[in-house]
Every structure is written in C-alpha cells, then in structure tokens.
Symmetry: C2
Subunit: 593 residues, 2 copies
Amino acid sequence: MASSEAQHQRLSKKKALATFSSDPLSSVAYATEEILLILLLAGTAALHLSIPIALTIIALLFIVVFSYRQTIYEYPNGGGAYIVAHENLGESAGLTAAAALLTDYILTVAVSVAAGIAALTSAFPNLQPHSVFLCLVSIVVVTLMNLRGIRESSTIFAIPTYAFIAGILVMLAMGAWKLSTGEFTHISPPELPIQHSLTLFLLLRAFSSGCTALTGVEAVSNGIPLFRKPESRNAALTLMVMVGILAVMFFGITFFSHFHGIVPNSGETVVSQLARSIFGTTVPYYYVQFTTMGILILAANTAYADFPRLTSILARDRYLPRQLTSVGDRLVFSNGILMLGLASAALIVLFQASTHALIPLYAVGVFLSFTFSQIGMVKHWFAKRQTGWRKKAAVNLVGGVLTGIVTIVITVTKFSHGAWIITLVIPLFIWAFTCVKKHYVGVGKQLSLVGQNPEQYESPMQHMVVMPISGLHRGVVEAMRYAQSIAQDVRAVYVNLDPTATDRLRKDWDRWGKKIPLVILESPYRSVVSPLLNYIDEARAMNPREMVTVLIPEFVTAKWWEGIFHNQTAFVMRAALLFKRNVVVTSVRYHLD
Amino acid sequence: MASSEAQHQRLSKKKALATFSSDPLSSVAYATEEILLILLLAGTAALHLSIPIALTIIALLFIVVFSYRQTIYEYPNGGGAYIVAHENLGESAGLTAAAALLTDYILTVAVSVAAGIAALTSAFPNLQPHSVFLCLVSIVVVTLMNLRGIRESSTIFAIPTYAFIAGILVMLAMGAWKLSTGEFTHISPPELPIQHSLTLFLLLRAFSSGCTALTGVEAVSNGIPLFRKPESRNAALTLMVMVGILAVMFFGITFFSHFHGIVPNSGETVVSQLARSIFGTTVPYYYVQFTTMGILILAANTAYADFPRLTSILARDRYLPRQLTSVGDRLVFSNGILMLGLASAALIVLFQASTHALIPLYAVGVFLSFTFSQIGMVKHWFAKRQTGWRKKAAVNLVGGVLTGIVTIVITVTKFSHGAWIITLVIPLFIWAFTCVKKHYVGVGKQLSLVGQNPEQYESPMQHMVVMPISGLHRGVVEAMRYAQSIAQDVRAVYVNLDPTATDRLRKDWDRWGKKIPLVILESPYRSVVSPLLNYIDEARAMNPREMVTVLIPEFVTAKWWEGIFHNQTAFVMRAALLFKRNVVVTSVRYHLD
C-alpha cells in the first residue's frame, strides 16, 4: 500500500469503539471470577464482599477516565504514558512508563487469549486438554491478521465486539426480568472450607485481581491519531461510551453471580455458569460463550495496535533497535507485531494457558503507567498555567495519587504470586533501553561529520588488489580483467594443497596470467582460508598504501541450491574479513547457465 | 594435524582386528536371535532348524571370505566394491555397489547401536523406556570420537573388542564344561502357539535374518591402506583370524541357545538369557552384557571408517558434492562422519531403536555389493589372464553367484517387512549420483579455458560505480574516496523516505559530495531496496559499459551482536544482487570502536 493511503485507513467512531474497547470490555469475562477466587479463600461467607469491591473498582474507573480525557485533548497526536511522562517528568519516568506498558501489552495478549479459550472449553469441556494448543493457534491468527493491516482487521473486529456487548446486555436484562417475575431467586453458595482468614490483605488482594477490569482503557489515548477528524473529540466520546458499557456489564455480572450463588471452579468460568443458569444450556448460552471467546481473542488486537506503536516511538527516540520504526508494506510495524506474538506465545506455554496463573502479573504495568502519565499531566498544567489549569491539575492529581496507591497495593498483594516477575522485568527493560540509546549515541558521534573538514578527505585512496584463486577458469580470467581495471598493483594468490595441481597452474599462468604476479602459499594443515588470511594480514602490515582490496572470483550456479555442490570458501573468506580494518571485499561473479 | 603425520596413523594387526572386526563379530549378539524369532512363528518344534541354518551361514561366510581374500591382494590400495565394480563392470555397476554399501553402513550404525542398548536394557530392564534416548547418546559419542581421528579411537576400541571376544569364548567354554559334567542339561523350549506353517519361504526368511552375521566382513578390503606394510598380507591375515573367531562364536551361541531351550522375548536378548543360564546373575553375566554393549556400540565405528571413505571416493569422482573430499584438521572426512551420524540417528528415531524392526532393511545392501564386487573380480581375471587366473576366477564366480542368490532370497523374503525401503533408496541414491556428476561436468565445460584464447580477454574491463547511501557520515565519505580511486563514473544514490532528511542531504552534498552526482530515488511504498535495484537494473540496461560496481558503504560495529541495532539493508542488497549478471558487489567498511 502507498503512503498516501494512510488517511483512508483512519477509523470511524463505531469501528474505533470496536477496535479499542475489546480489551477493556472483555475483562468483564474474568474480572468477577478473579475477585471471587480470592474471596473464596476466606470461605463462602466472604463472597458477598464482591459487590462493594466491584463498586470501588467502578468508581476508580471513572476517576481514571476523567483524568485521561484531559490527556486526550491535550495530546491530540497520541498521549501515551511514555510521551506524557517523558515530556513532563523526564527520561527515567518516560522509560519506566514505557517498560511498564510493554509488559502489560504482552500480558494483555496472553491473558485475553487464555480467557477466551477458557470460555470455549467451558462450553466444550473435552477441548480442555488442548487449551495451550488452541491459545497458540489464536495468537498466530491474530498476529497474521495484524500483519495484514489495521482497517481490514477492524472491520472484522467490529462484529464480535458488538455481538458480545449485545449478548451480555441481553443476558443481564433477561436476568433482571426473571428476577422481577420471581423465576430467578437468591441461591446461597455451597459451603466451602476456609483456607485463609478474612484479613484486610486478602480484601486488597481481591480488589487487585479485579483491577484487571481497568486494563486497556488507556488504549484510546495512545491511538488518537487513528481516529477520523476531529481526533480528540471522537476519541474522548468513544472513551466515555466504552466506560459506560464496561461499568454496566462488570457490575451486572458481579451482582448476578453473587445473587445466584455462583462459585468459581476449574472446569467452567463464572460467566459460563451465569449464562447457563439464566438461559439454560440453549442456543443463547452458546451465543454468549462464543461471543465471549470472540471478544477476548480479539482483545489481543488492542495490544497489537499499541505495542508496535510504542516500540516504534521508542525506536524513533533510539531506545530500541531502529528496525522497529520501519513501517511494512502494508502500513504496519511488522517487527513489533512479530515480537508481541512471540512474547505472548512464550507466556502461554510457560503458564500453560491458565488465566488464573497469569493474572498476578497483570495490571501492575498498566497502573504504574497510569500513575506516571497523570502525575506528568499535573506537572504539565503547572508548567502551562492556562485558563482553568488548577481544576485540571486537581483532576489529574486525584487520578495520579489514587492509581499510585493502587499500583503499590497490587504489587504488594500479588508480589509472591507472580508480580515479582514484573518488578524484575521493568528495570531490565529500562536497562536495555538505556544501553541501546548509549550505543546509538556512540555510533552517531563516531560517524558524525560535525567539526570535520572536506579537505581531510580530499586525497584519492591508494590500494592494492589481492585475488585468491582456486585454479584457472573463465571466471578467474574475467576477474583478472576487472582487477586490472581498478588497480595497478594486483596479485593472484593460490594455496598449494596438491603439488601436481600447483605445477599445472604455474605452467598455465604464463599464458593466462596477464603478467599478474602469482603468489603460491603453502598450507601444511590443508586449510585454504588461514594462509590467505595470513597473507592479507601481511599485505596490510607491509603495504604503505591505505587499503587492501580482496577480490574474490566466484561463480554463481543457475539454481541457488546447486551452490551446495561447490566449496563455500568465498563465504568463509567474507565472514573472516568482516572485522579486519582497511580491507575492502569485492565479489566478482561469473554466472553459469 | 599435519599431512605428513598420515603414515604414523597406520594400524597394527592387533589394532586393525579391533577396528575392523567389531562390526562382524558383534553381529553374533543378534544373528541367532533373529533366526529364532522367525522360526518361532512355526512353533517350538521348528527351533532346532537354527543349527543347520547357522551352519549354512558359516559355510557361506567362508566362501565369501576366500573370494574376498583375492580382492585384497589384487587391490592393495583399497578394493571396495565400488572400485572393483566400477573398474571392471562399468559406471552403473559401480554406482549400484556404492549405493548399496552406503545404505548398509547407515544400517550398521543403527542396528548395532540398537542391539547394544538392548544388551544394556536386558541387564537393567528399568532403562528400557529410555532406549531411544540412550541410542542417540551413543551415536553422538561415536560421532564425536570419530571426528577426533582414527588412531586415537582404535586404541580405545581395542579394549572392548578383545574383552567381548574373551567374554563370549569363556562363556562358551564354561557351557561346554558344564555340559561335560552333566551340570548343564538339555531343556525343551516352552510350547508356543504356531502362527505360520513351516514352509520353505519361512526357512529362507530365517536364513536371511541370520545373514546379518556376514555384514562387515567387507570392511577389511575397503580399509587396506590403513594397515601397516605389507598392507595386503596383513589385511588378509586379519580377515582370516576374524572370520575364524566369528564362526566359533556364532555357532557356539546358536548351539547352546537351542540346547538350553532359550526362546526370544521382547524384554531380554537371547545372549543375555544364555549368559544368565550359564553364569547365573553374577559378575561374569554383567561382564558379558557390558562387553556386548561395548562392542556393538563401537561396531558402529567400522561404518564410521568406511562410510566417509566411500563418500570421499565418490566425491573425488564427482558423484557427490566435493565438500566430502575435504579431509578435516584431524585427517578425517568430517562431513561424511556427520552425515552418517545424522542418518543413523534418524533411523533410530523412526524405528524406535528396535533391532528387530531394523533387521529386514539390513544385509540387502551388503550382499548386493558382495555380488557386484565378486562378479567384477571374475571379469578382472578374464581380462588379465595371468598365471592361475582360471582357479581365481572360479573362486570369485562361486562367491559371486552364491551371494547373488542370497541377495535375491533376502530381498524377496524380507520385502514386505522393510526390504522394500532399500529397493527404493538404492535407485534414488544412484539417481542422485548421476545428477551430481552431470552438474559438475556441465559447470566444468562452462568454465573451461580449453579452446579459448587469451587475446579474447585482453581488453581492460569498463565499469561504473553505483553507491547507495543512507545519509552522509564519515563511512560514506571514506567510501566515496575509494569509489573515486577505482572508477571515473561514480554516482551516489539515495532513497527519499522523508523529505526533510532528503533536503538536508541535498544541502550538505555541495560541501561533502566531492563532485559526485547525487541521484534521489522516490519510493512510494517506503521500500529502500527495490528502488535501488530498479536503478541498478536501469544502469545495467542503459550503460554501454560492461560492468556495474555496486559499492556498499557499511559500518561494522565493534561487537558483532551490535549489528542487530542497524538496518540490514547492505545484507539484503547483496542477497538481491547475487543473481544479477554484470554486477560486482563491493563492501567498503567503516569500523567503529
């Protein structure tokens, strides 16, 4: 696709909602379950606390979103946490936010795909042994779709997102109707053994697990340039609609699950149990399961839009290898997409596709980036001091302080269950970023022409040609002609492995050698390459001229695989010469039919 | 090791016996069992036929060996079946013999290693589930030992070979002693269900399975140049001693197994059962098992000496890629050794390390090569007609006809059990040999200077330089100096990906461009490589001169892995230019600290 088509690839609000909301909305498929799983440790009696925890999380969600809305208007070119933190709080803060977000994007893919396959295996338990395989297939499919380009993907992704929203809302409405008709009554959950007393720590752990519902809401602020004009307004509207739907679904699922005494079990998800108890095992039940799987697998797509965009920004700022900046033939950052696919597939294998095992690693990164981003905005308002800055600064300050506290709560309560991995990975990423930056700065200095003078480079370069040959044939004779056209001082070098062949060559040289001196090298250990390299080293040491051109005559077979029938000496020579200074390597090829 | 050390690597008779006899002698570890396994199909009553079958095989062995003795004297430089058949019967016969031998060498490794591990698991049944893994470890060890060089290996190999011979002979003597004292009495084998009537076909199948005992006797005739002087006499003597020992052990094991009513079972080998019944489960029993394993695993060594030697001869004659002729730093044919290791490891995995499953594939090749080799000798005597040629021709004729009949018997009786694979592989190998030969002959013709005249190549070559650049830096400026030293017509080519950067370059070019024309290429699809390639193609098409030198300025990072931080455009360019005619590729490298 041509660069000029980029504007047409922009997203309408409806499509943007589908693209960016699959991640946050899909988290309702596991957030309630993760809260219940922790509360369950304190026995059945603790389960009712899921309602206040869910309400707290929803409150937090609205605070974060109001805070983020301000960023969207202030950073219309994309106000990811990295940019906001970097600009307002400096390099370290920016890199911390970036590292935090990268870990979170990888986990978004792994958790979403694992939960999506769990929705499938809840409906079809005999697929459960194949979970890891099914997850990997899903990652491959999503990766390939993203390599093909964003607009085509979003058309496909709009359907499952709206289908999921419709399914869950109908389910909740049906539940409310049955509740009102008395068909649906309160059921007490089964009595289960108490493994842990109901401490504040346990409550906070349950809250931390539920906070995964907030992951993904930052996606809109990173993706503003993908919206149609006016970008900021469309993005802010989309964000508000999304959060409203999210709050309704999350509370609804939590409420009905508790009301109906649903308890997590390893074979079936909470949402599946809820759908089964509202609909029975009927067509609508399967509809909910399939759309849940659909939105979860496609939720990974949000990360596929954001991860490569963030790595390309980091690469542009020289914190990551510059290959990550290159937009592929289809206007996507292909290298970043592949990296994300590989990293999330590794997590799936490592954690055996268990949502529950992955959750403790999740959300640490996103809340850390929330915090840096909003504190950065506070600093931004203080620096700018335009009309109404105090109110705006206050909103961001509340958001930043709250998410900062939540970050600490999540890290502490989940530390021993996996969050420690993230506390190691984030500094490791930051270290890598700074190493890469240091490398590029160093290279830039060495290559820079600043302070240099063209006169220094005025004199023509002096060089001699060393031409290793394996015998006399047409390719070699052509190479000799080329050698004589580029230098006065040309030497052919031959390694004596077989005295008979050497004598024959010496004899033929008089006729074919074009007066080029023939140097015969001895090789007691039958190696071809090392005597040649020694000779080149001597030439470099003894020659007063600046450069040694090593001219390698090669013949190229008509079919590439026929190359295996010939010695790879040329290849070995090139590799061996790679790190030698003042050596130019020239390949003169003779093409065979 | 230096080439001059080759003579010191020659083998004494004792060491040669150890090196060459491990293959034939070790076959007694499974030959009897394979005969019994087939006879057992016709029920217990058929088992006594193992005695006449073993005697027939021993008679065949002596006929083959007398026939081969004549080859050893006539071909002191190594009279492998390939050489004898090729010289006397022509190319097709030679290639057939070679293909047959190669299949057999691979099977020697696979069968020997599988049987060796079976000896181990007979003594330690809890290792049985790990058979495949243990076989692969053995192959890796033997391969590595062979890569280190032959003499060192033979010193190591002498010990287990003699230890095995001693162990089996003591076991047979002990059996004979116990027999004479009446301590050891005849036991009837257990009654087992009859699955197959005792047909001539079944008898021939049992005979075919036992013929594996003859595999490996040809190794001496291939390896004559490895013997100390006088090579032929020493080789012939070694062969006779080896065959004598083989006959005694094979008959002894078959006799006592029958006498003691031993029946093959899947968990324990026949030799293990025999050793247990003669010695009890005592130290001597374990000694027999360990030395059996030792000689079998090391029997693979015979193939490791012969396979690379045969492939190097075939490569010298241009039937295989020439890399196989190159003797490594330690005077061994490293590539052949690696090929053999890989092929036999593949067989082990495919056939799950089961000796019994591999046996039907075995011996077809070796008997085919016996036949071609001896018929070749008959023709040789007829052509030479020196004193006593009639007698010599008669000996080889008897050998050739008999082994020819046996080849047919083996192929027919084992066809459906696996021999069909070999009947496919041998023609496939022959086809590959002729393709490779054809390729080399074709290349040789195209490169040959025969009929060419030096005057044709007199005129100096005309060329222009195209220098792709990614910007202006010190490396590029140095490359421009080099370019101006090798040609008059130099052009710098830049791909416009970012108009701002392009404008900056244009401005700087006036100062740094050394009057070299700067060509700016547009790239609507953001590709760097394809506009450059198009430009080079145009230059080739429009330029009246003969050659286009593509000069690629590169910078080399101080550490190789730092290369990943930079675009690999140079690498992609080189690969893309590989198949373009009249293009010389030159890399001018700027080294970074």
